[in-house]
Each structure stands twice: as structure tokens, then as C-alpha cells.
Symmetry: C2
Subunit: 298 residues, 2 copies
């Protein structure tokens, strides 16, 4: 018997019933209008009776739809409650999230608010750039936000954000005159680098992937964003930086420019491959993965 519903579909229905307008309801639900249309049709097909009467000018509930609506709301709400109740029946679980400074993108806030509300304990752990695993290596963290590539084997990642690499230059720098920079013009500059201990990520931000094996010239090594921009402003070198971070760290003595011909940087949620605890999986699942290739934006 095909009697079980996905509560998601009931939720879709309740929202649609509230607005009686597919396009609007789809927006509220953060899905496309055709997706909603299709799901509702599928729901009607599964139930065996129509829920809505699609008229030329308006959409109205059928008698069955009217009967279903309040009960559907109850079910969705009841489930929410049930979930919370069940969760709190177990021992309180504390998830430690490792983050390096300069990750930004209010991911911290996301992590904290979203899960604190739902009865979890989230503990943020700020780690220095010297620990490329952000605490995953020594067990100090359960998950971490990191720039790829992965610093060590045995870790798995879900890419959350993919964005172009820009370059930070001192205001006086000749290349600062152009609105966009070729990496070729940049390759022989002195670079502000992450510490050696940072591992593969250091190489990535030195654009080792675009140098054909030639060694970059290192101006200075730094361990914090403040250091970095101080060094750049002082003319000790230039540095690659993610696009959004460029917008975030504005200083009068430093300018940011997009760099052509560089693969985008990927910010990922990382955890240990052998860590199968459902709490970790649930945390990870709560963050939507970035689309794989070049996304269709529109």
C-alpha cells in the first residue's frame, strides 16, 4: 500500500493552501514554481483525490483539501515536537566546530544559531593557521570549516562555497591600476604566505596550481588576517584571497583585484571519514553543498 506521505509534501501543501498561489508559495518554500506544481500533483495522485481546483483566475481548495489542511498542519507541527522531544531524551551532545579566522561568511552565526535553537550544544573552537586540520587531527574538533585542499588523509569534505581568488595589493602597486589582473603578471611578485605548517593550503593560496612547478617568492609568513594586511600594506608582498574576503577586509592602504586564469577557491565543511556519528552527519547535512560545476544562476 502506498499510504505513507513525505511530511515535506504536506508542508508544501499547507503553505500553498495559505497563499493559494503556486508562484508565491514556491518562493516562500525556496523552491521553483514547477517543482511545487509537480509535487502537489504527485501528492494528489498519491492520495487519490484533488486538493486544489486550479481555476483561470484563482486557485481554491477542494472539499478534500479543506479537510486535509488543518490536519496536515497538525501533523507537521506534531512531528517537529516529536523530534525535539526525542532528541532531548538522549544525553546532550556537544559538537565542537573548528574554524580558522578569516573564514567569515557568517558561517559561525549559522552554525550557532541554527543548532542552538534545536537543542544542541555547539562549541566553536578558533584555531590558528598553524593547524591545517583545525583540530580535526587531534580530536579537538568534530567538524571544521576549511579551505580546500584537504590538509590530511582520512578527512572528507562537503564544499559549501566556491569563489574566485582575488589578489590583495598595496595601494601604490603598479598592478593596482588595472581593474583585473593576469596571474602571469603576478607570478614573480613576493607573496605573503601561510606558515609552512599549513601544508597544502599554503600552496593553494600561493597558486602552486598555476605556476607549472616554479617556486613562488615568499616575502613573509603570517598567522592572522591582521598580519597579512599589515604585511601587504608595508610592501612585503602580495597575497591571494577569496573574493568575499576581499570585500570583507577593506583597508585604505590595500586594494583587491580579481585574478584571471585561477581556479576558484573552495570553502568546505570537513570531518573525519571514520566518524559516523549521526550528530556529525546531521550537522553536515544542514549545510547545502555548492553546485558541482559552474552554477546556473539566472
Amino acid at each position: 500500500m502506498a499510504m505513507d506521505v513525505h511530511l515535506r509534501d504536506l508542508r508544501y501543501f499547507t503553505v500553498l493552501a495559505e497563499h493559494l498561489h503556486f508562484t508565491v508559495a514556491a518562493q516562500k518554500l525556496y523552491i521553483s514554481q514547477p517543482a511545487l506544481s509537480k509535487q502537489i500533483r504527485a501528492l494528489e495522485r498519491q492520495l487519490g483525490f484533488p486538493l486544489l481546483d486550479r481555476r483561470p483566475r484563482e486557485v481554491v481548495l477542494t472539499p478534500q483539501g479543506q479537510a486535509l489542511l488543518p490536519r496536515a498542519r497538525e501533523l507537521v507541527a506534531a512531528w517537529q515536537e516529536t523530534w525535539q522531544a526525542a532528541r532531548s531524551a538522549g544525553p546532550t551532545f556537544t559538537l565542537t566546530v573548528g574554524m580558522q579566522t578569516a573564514v567569515g561568511r557568517n558561517l559561525q552565526r549559522e552554525a550557532l544559531t541554527r543548532f542552538r535553537d534545536e537543542g544542541w550544544r555547539i562549541s566553536l573552537r578558533l584555531v590558528s593557521w598553524e593547524d591545517p586540520t583545525a583540530g580535526l587531527g587531534d580530536g579537538g574538533s568534530d567538524v571544521a570549516f576549511l579551505w580546500l585542499p584537504l590538509p590530511a588523509p582520512g578527512l572528507v569534505s562537503r564544499t559549501l562555497i566556491r569563489e574566485p581568488r582575488w589578489v590583495s595589493l598595496p595601494v601604490g602597486h603598479p598592478l593596482a591600476a588595472k581593474p583585473e589582473v593576469d596571474f602571469a603578471d603576478l607570478a614573480d611578485e613576493a607573496f605573503v604566505a601561510l606558515p609552512r605548517a599549513a601544508g597544502p593550503v599554503r600552496e593553494f593560496w600561493l597558486a602552486a596550481d598555476a605556476r607549472d612547478g616554479r617556486e613562488p617568492r615568499i616575502g613573509i609568513e603570517v598567522t592572522s588576517p591582521a598580519d597579512t594586511f599589515e604585511a601587504i600594506a608595508s610592501g612585503l608582498g602580495v597575497a591571494l584571497i577569496a573574493e568575499k574576503n576581499a570585500q570583507l577586509y577593506q583597508r585604505p592602504d590595500v586594494v583587491h583585484r580579481p585574478v584571471r586564469d585561477l581556479a576558484p577557491a573552495e570553502l568546505a565543511l570537513v570531518w573525519r571519514a571514520n566518524d559516523t556519528r549521526p550528530e556529525v552527519a546531521a550537522f553536515v547535512a544542514a549545510f547545502p553543498a555548492a553546485p558541482s560545476g559552474a552554477a546556473g544562476s539566472q
Copy 2:
């Protein structure tokens, strides 16, 4: 937020919690053990906490599992009730099912019991072999059980059963001596045929598909199973017949033998392609489709 559950998963959980044994619970649920294992793990992952403690000797509920169990039962039951209530809020829908005699296989019973219980009105309409669409053509039926091929354009089918074609012979017939018959030995026999009005299905049961275009020899045309076997017993011809029907229509003066080298016959549920009423779709969906090719049995 990934908060919505599929009620099916809750149902799986309740059954598993009842037996505390994956293999047994999977059997009760009519799914394979790995499927259950995977679904439960996925559920735990989605919820963010473990439901069961899989120990070497036994499976036990975690505190969260214990907390979830009774409420999960309630939710599943509540949905059932909700569904019924919503259905009966609409005008009673009567679905007319066209059937030819000799379809058999307790499909009628299936159709009637299954849906009468759930508050539908099912009206069976027995049609003669003269109407190959079993009432779909003139709107007298909403759905019909028919042997393929489809008698007319504009109809869609879901194959329910696929079974070998046998041949019915009078007891004295020389071919009746062998346990199995080659169609080549049968091709030049006189055949008991469906009426011309039956269309493509007539050709199918004359095995036009195995004759390379040569015309069959028609002994007599009949319009009911009784006619058919009377004719065969009287030596007016032989007839092809589906395997299960062969077992069903046993008479002392007629024998049934499997025929080699014939494609199987397909019994299908048929409805109008442009009929998108959810009631029809739900009825259709309630009958599992036959696997496409040679099925993996075991």
C-alpha cells in the same frame, strides 16, 4: 531545514522497534534486510541522533529511540485517519473497471476489496470480447484489465502480469501426447479465434507475431470462454491461452500444453492517456507493475 521525515521511515522504525531484529522486521515490511538497514541509518543521520544500539547479540533502543517510538506510532496512525477523513470529505467517487471474462487471477477481488475498504466505490463492468477496449472507448469504463497489445491509440497501460502462452487441444489431438509443443507444429492447425471486432488482440492470440505474415487458418470465432472450450473439445480448432488460465479452465475433454518459441502474453491495467484524474492514477498506482524483463526471482 531538513526537518521533514518520510512517514514510511517512521513506520519502518516502529516495526523494527517491535521486533528488535533487522532481518525479521525487513520481512514483515516486505523489503530486503539491507534496505531496512540503510533506511534506518539514514533516518538516524537525518534526525541527528541514534535510535538503536546494535550490539553483538541484540539490538536495543537508545533513550531517543524509546522516546520516539510511541509518538512515531501516533503519527503514522494519525496520518491514516487524516487521509481517510479528507477522502470522505469529497463527493464519493465511483470508478468503473472494465473487465473481460477470462481475465481471472483474482484481480477483480483485489480491485474490489482493496478499494471498497478505503471508502471508494468500485463498479465492475463485464464486457464482451467484441469490445476490445472494455468500455474505455465509449467512456463506460475508467480503467480496464486487458491483454496487450493495446486495442486503440490514446490508451496507456501498466503491465501487471507476464506469462507464457500455452495451447489448448482436444484430448485426442496428436500433439497432446508431448509435454511441450513447438509452435511450428501448431501453425497450420485450425484456430479458435476471437471475433474480428477484437482487433489486434485477436491477432496476438493467433500468434500473428510468430507466423511471418502467413495467415492463420480460422476454425471458428467465439465470444466467451465456454464457447472456446466447447469448440476445442468439438475439434473445431485449437487455441492459445495464458498459462494461468490453462490451469484455471480444466476440462476432461481438453488438455493444455506449453508452447515453445512464443513471446509471453501481458496482462495490463489500461486507462485513457488524457485521463489525469487523481482517482484513476491512485487506482493504477495500487497495482505493482510487472518487472520489465526476466525477473530476478529467488
